[in-house]
Symmetry: C2
Subunit: 325 residues, 2 copies
């Protein structure tokens, strides 16, 4: 038998299927003896409720979508860590989905929106917009990132201010020539880090990577150093790229921070374990997750007010890679 259903149980017990359904959910209108009999039989035959049938009727799947670019990166890992804990506590599960290029927003929405009770969209306000445009049937949706859609709940991290702090710090330790290491094709709106940074410092020296990997960061910086010599500091789009940058500098026998200071962004755990730990703009990951989750839960519980937004501040964490005494 492929699957034990309530109907099977009902037949076995000689009662109606409706009674089985109610006994299984501990409906007090069912006599205790009957209830026990049904539940015993269910256990004996290995009955498992059919999740999709229930979902069809109730409209809830018990899944919360997490849409994020590169769910295997260290930035994503830190968020997955936070959300996973919250999801477990709430008894729901995360459906983690890699955001494709921007053009696929429409198709992704179509495929997934029916599967989740709520949605967290990281660094992709256009996805949120697509969702909202797709009509009233949308599930609750919360944005997270450096820029977020004003039309939905969202938690923003003020990277503009973070970049400003980093710059101030670099200036204070004597850096004048500061280069920005960034991906050529930005991922999601983390692109805005760059814009924020450039606005903050009016910095002419940019180093573009060809791909969004550490290896690409390593290659791009190596090339740049050979062509243009060494700046006083390298400001990296994220901590991952900073790792690539550090390697490039090391291979060219440039010393950090003596010859060049390095600053990253994110504050992922990895970079605390380097020989010279990385100065970085640390994001308040736990707080980010908690706020997002609260928004989402409230929406799923029926809150229907205006979009709410919160802006959180990152925190510059000065460590060895920029400390030139």
């Amino acid at each position: 038998m492929a699957h034990v259903t309530q109907t099977h149980l009902a037949k076995h017990l000689g009662v109606s299927q409706a009674l089985v359904a109610r006994a299984l959910k501990n409906d007090p209108a069912v006599a205790r003896a009957t209830r026990d009999r049904v539940q015993a039989e269910a256990a004996r035959l290995g009955y498992r409720p059919n999740v999709t049938a229930r979902a069809l009727l109730t409209g809830r799947t018990g899944l919360v979508g997490l849409w994020i670019s590169r769910p295997y990166g260290s930035y994503a890992a830190r968020l997955i860590f936070g959300f996973e804990k919250l999801a477990q506590a709430a008894g729901v599960d995360l459906l983690i989905r890699d955001l494709g290029p921007q053009g696929q927003a429409e198709e992704m929405t179509a495929r997934h929106i029916g599967l989740v009770d709520g949605l967290i969209v990281v660094d992709a306000p256009w996805h949120v917009e697509t969702l909202l445009r797709s009509g009233a049937s949308s599930r609750p949706c919360v944005g997270l990132g450096s820029t977020i859609s004003p039309r939905a709940d969202g938690v923003a991290v003020d990277l503009f201010r973070g970049a400003g702090q980093a710059l101030k710090h670099l200036r204070e330790v004597g850096c004048r020539r500061i280069a920005y290491l960034r991906p050529e094709h930005p991922l999601g709106d983390r692109e805005d880090r760059r814009r924020a940074y450039v606005r903050a410092v009016r910095l002419p020296e940019e180093i573009a990577m060809e791909d969004a990997t550490r290896a690409a960061a390593h290659a791009a910086l190596t090339r740049h150093l050979k062509a243009h010599g060494c700046p006083d500091a390298v400001f990296c789009h994220n901590d991952d790229y900073a790792l690539g940058a550090l390697r490039a500098l090391r291979e060219l026998n440039l010393r950090v921070p003596r010859d060049v200071a390095v600053v990253g962004c994110d504050g992922v755990e990895d970079t605390e374990y380097l020989e010279s730990p990385l100065t970085t703009i640390a994001l308040p990951f736990d707080d980010m997750c908690r706020r997002v989750w609260t928004f989402l839960r409230e929406r799923m519980d029926g809150y229907a007010g205006r979009p709410r937004r919160i802006r959180l501040m990152p925190e510059l964490r000065v460590r060895g890679s920029s400390l030139r005494g």
Copy 2:
């Protein structure tokens, strides 16, 4: 209106709902003109198929479960990376789920088995057993890890041999006193790495961590070094812990590899970017993912033969952390 259904479209167009259904799936029995009319209306009203209704009828959700401990760790990240690509190519999505303690296997199975078309279980053969025990209703399931259940398809990585290679290498570079840094409460069956190692080398010196984190590795090794002095080499349960170990050694002014060699396990990208890159037992991640996926796809396509197993070999990657020339 909450949701546009086929019935709504049918009413609007003055045709039957069945016709709408067939027009939408491009059934050739529907006249071209009718089909276009239906599809145009669907687009206009923003119709989206209800995934749960389809799933109830067809029995497929388009989700593949990935059950893995600590889905935010670097080991998991590497697997997520591999599977995500395969899943995208196949047009399905990954439902990533953190494995709780072993005792929760039963409950997890109950909650999720109905949501996925297939399942990948990493380093947790008992989950596979629970699944199989739960009856014929189970979905196809493939194991991955250093030990796997013989009762289901599985891809094993021979960490026993890997540990042997690592040991041989350490001996060759002159290490005699070799300590093993391992978690106190093993995660899944990666515990078997330890057993494999101990069997391979009959090694008495073990350093137990209190938690499965880098910080715990750092703390445990620091304590051990202070109490028992420094071994010739530290063999780490995984690369993450190796990072913690390296930090501990550095803080005590022990030089790697001159004073002590360090070997990790996994071969995640992170450790290539250290000042002294880490010698490690590299797992063939891409191959692992591909094999698992093939098994799973074949099962989902109806293959019903006996369980198949593959054993893959890891590869010792010698780098700076153990090269004492």
